[in-house]
């Protein structure tokens, strides 16, 4: 293997970890509520801007913004669920599909209105530069962000498997009626899952702000890719989303390397189409 290929693979792995963290929140929301949250990546954008303004106004490094983003986006998610999404839970299917589009358009343009459509960047984050491993050079912020993503993903996984609340969330996901009969307040579980999902994507935003451009429409591409990740992994499957995220990161960089960088996303989408053609329920779906 050429050195370049190895470094492409590593890069794909790193960006893939970010995709995983973004997508597990989305798949959690879908699994519990059966709702595709089209505004998911706009919460990512809000996380990035939160981190940016904390840095610009109060000189707080993105690394320290992570808990702030987590809490802020948790609250935002809770509010959006309570006042908007919960209203369509018993409504017609199409309203469930469309409502989050409204949220998405609203949030993205709120950002345009407040902060203009300009591209920004955090100039000198605490973590910068590269680590040199001979053939492979690792960008420090990217690597830390990816390791952080894996940790947060693992955290969610353990939370769901090990805690009583986590198991209640899984129970609602598998059988809402039975969960009610067990005494689980399913409405609360919905709100909690939505808030956890947005909180995780907020954390991803803080990580991403260390090395990525920050602008109101940044959600666009990330949103499309995270849908692909979730669907590829199988809607509702946390493990599936995690694996598919890394897979898509690698497909994207290798596709760009072997073919044309301009087509890297097209290749990702094509891989999705071929996968669901063969396996209509995604990789780990049921």
């Amino acid at each position: 293997m050429s050195e370049q290929l190895v470094s492409q693979l590593v890069n794909g792995l790193l960006i893939g970890c970010m995709y995983s963290l973004i997508a597990i929140g989305l798949t959690l929301i879908w699994g519990v509520m059966n709702i595709v949250n089209f505004a998911h990546a706009d919460f990512l954008m809000i996380g990035m801007f939160t981190s940016f303004w904390l840095y610009t106004l109060y000189a707080v490094d993105p690394l320290y913004s992570i808990p702030v983003c987590a809490v802020l986006l948790f609250l935002l998610g809770w509010v959006i669920y309570k006042f908007i999404v919960s209203k369509v839970m018993t409504g017609p299917g199409l309203a469930q599909v469309v409502v989050t589009f409204g949220v998405s358009i609203f949030l993205a343009n709120l950002a345009v209105w407040l902060w203009t459509p300009d591209f920004r960047m955090i100039q000198r984050p605490l973590l910068h530069g590269t680590w040199d491993f001979g053939a492979v050079q690792l960008s420090v912020p990217k690597t830390v962000a990816s390791i952080g993503s894996v940790l947060f993903s693992a955290g969610l996984f353990l939370f769901l498997r090990m805690t009583k609340t986590g198991k209640a969330i899984l129970a609602v996901e598998m059988n809402r009626t039975s969960a009610l009969l067990m005494g689980i307040n399913t409405e609360k579980v919905n709100a909690l899952s939505f808030a956890i999902g947005t909180s995780l994507v907020g954390v991803a935003g803080a990580f991403l702000s260390m090395y990525y451009y920050i602008y109101p429409q940044v959600g666009g591409t990330f949103g499309l890719l995270s849908f692909c990740v979730v669907a590829l992994g199988g809607f509702g499957s946390i493990e599936g989303a995690f694996i598919a995220g890394i897979l898509i990161g690698i497909v994207q960089t290798l596709g760009g390397y072997f073919f044309d960088p301009a087509y890297k996303y097209a290749i990702v989408f094509a891989v999705y189409l071929v996968t669901v053609w063969i396996r209509p329920q995604g990789l780990l779906g049921w």
């Binding site: 598998m174 059988n175 039975s178 009610l180 009969l181 005494g183 689980i184 399913t186």
Partner: protein
């Protein structure tokens, strides 16, 4: 203990599934609701467990209204339901299913004690503790569903069609278990299509037909009644 008074229950936008039904369950009894498919038996259980709300009439538990309690709090009132078709958490382990049954129980020690009791009642579940619920056989799944219901230490256990989809031989075993549970002091409300078996173990029974109670009485007496014999036992 439990009383339903002149309740009419229907699904959203649909016709009434149950009309003007009244019945009571006394402490320590096994009461069976029997009747054909679509007669409204399951609807009654769903209303008691809060999944449906009666359009009129009331449901009382020890004299207090139950039909205003949210569904997720019913179990905290001491009522557990074993739903039709078992409705397990398929991708969770047997033990996780049981522990979720005790979700409403605050005390950890109590839950552990109950768990041991339930596993003693169903030794098969002990053997399969770590397995995913969906991999169990039909009979084992029904045992798990009943076990999960018992985990909340209910005073009243409601069973919806426990014999549905179970091998004939296991059916009598299930009914024996129900009797055992009753002997331990748990009141049982049973909905069954298997009229014969249900009437055998029930102290009292109500016969439903198209949403109304048409007959009530002692289980063994009903078994001898001409109407039941004709309509449900095909004799």
């Amino acid at each position: 203990m439990l009383e339903m008074k002149n309740a009419s229950i229907g699904y959203k936008g649909g016709v009434l599934a149950v009309q003007d039904v009244s019945f009571r369950v006394k402490e320590g009894e096994v009461v069976a609701l029997v009747g054909s498919n679509g007669a409204g038996k399951s609807t009654i259980l769903r209303a008691i467990s809060g999944l449906l709300r009666p359009k009129s009439g009331e449901i009382l538990l020890n004299g207090e209204p139950l039909h205003t309690v949210p569904a997720y709090d019913i179990v905290r009132k001491g009522i557990a339901m074993v739903p039709e078709g078992r409705q397990l958490f398929g991708r969770l382990s047997v033990i996780d299913n049981l522990l979720l049954g005790a979700y409403a129980v605050e005390s950890k020690e109590e839950t552990e004690k109950t768990l041991l009791e339930v596993l003693a009642l169903f030794p098969r579940l002990e053997e399969r503790k770590g397995q995913r619920a969906e991999t169990l056989s039909g009979g084992e799944q029904q045992q798990l569903a009943i076990g999960r219901g018992l985990m909340s230490r209910p005073k009243l256990l409601m069973l919806d069609e426990p014999s549905l989809g179970i091998m004939p031989k296991l059916v009598s075993e299930i009914f024996r278990t129900v009797q055992e549970i009753s002997e331990k002091g748990v009141t049982v409300l049973l909905v069954e299509q298997n009229v014969h078996e249900a009437l055998h173990i029930a102290h009292r029974a109500y016969v439903l037909q198209t949403g109304r109670i048409v007959l009530e009485g002692n289980g063994k007496e009903l078994l001898q009644s001409d109407m039941v014999r004709q309509a449900y036992l095909g004799m």
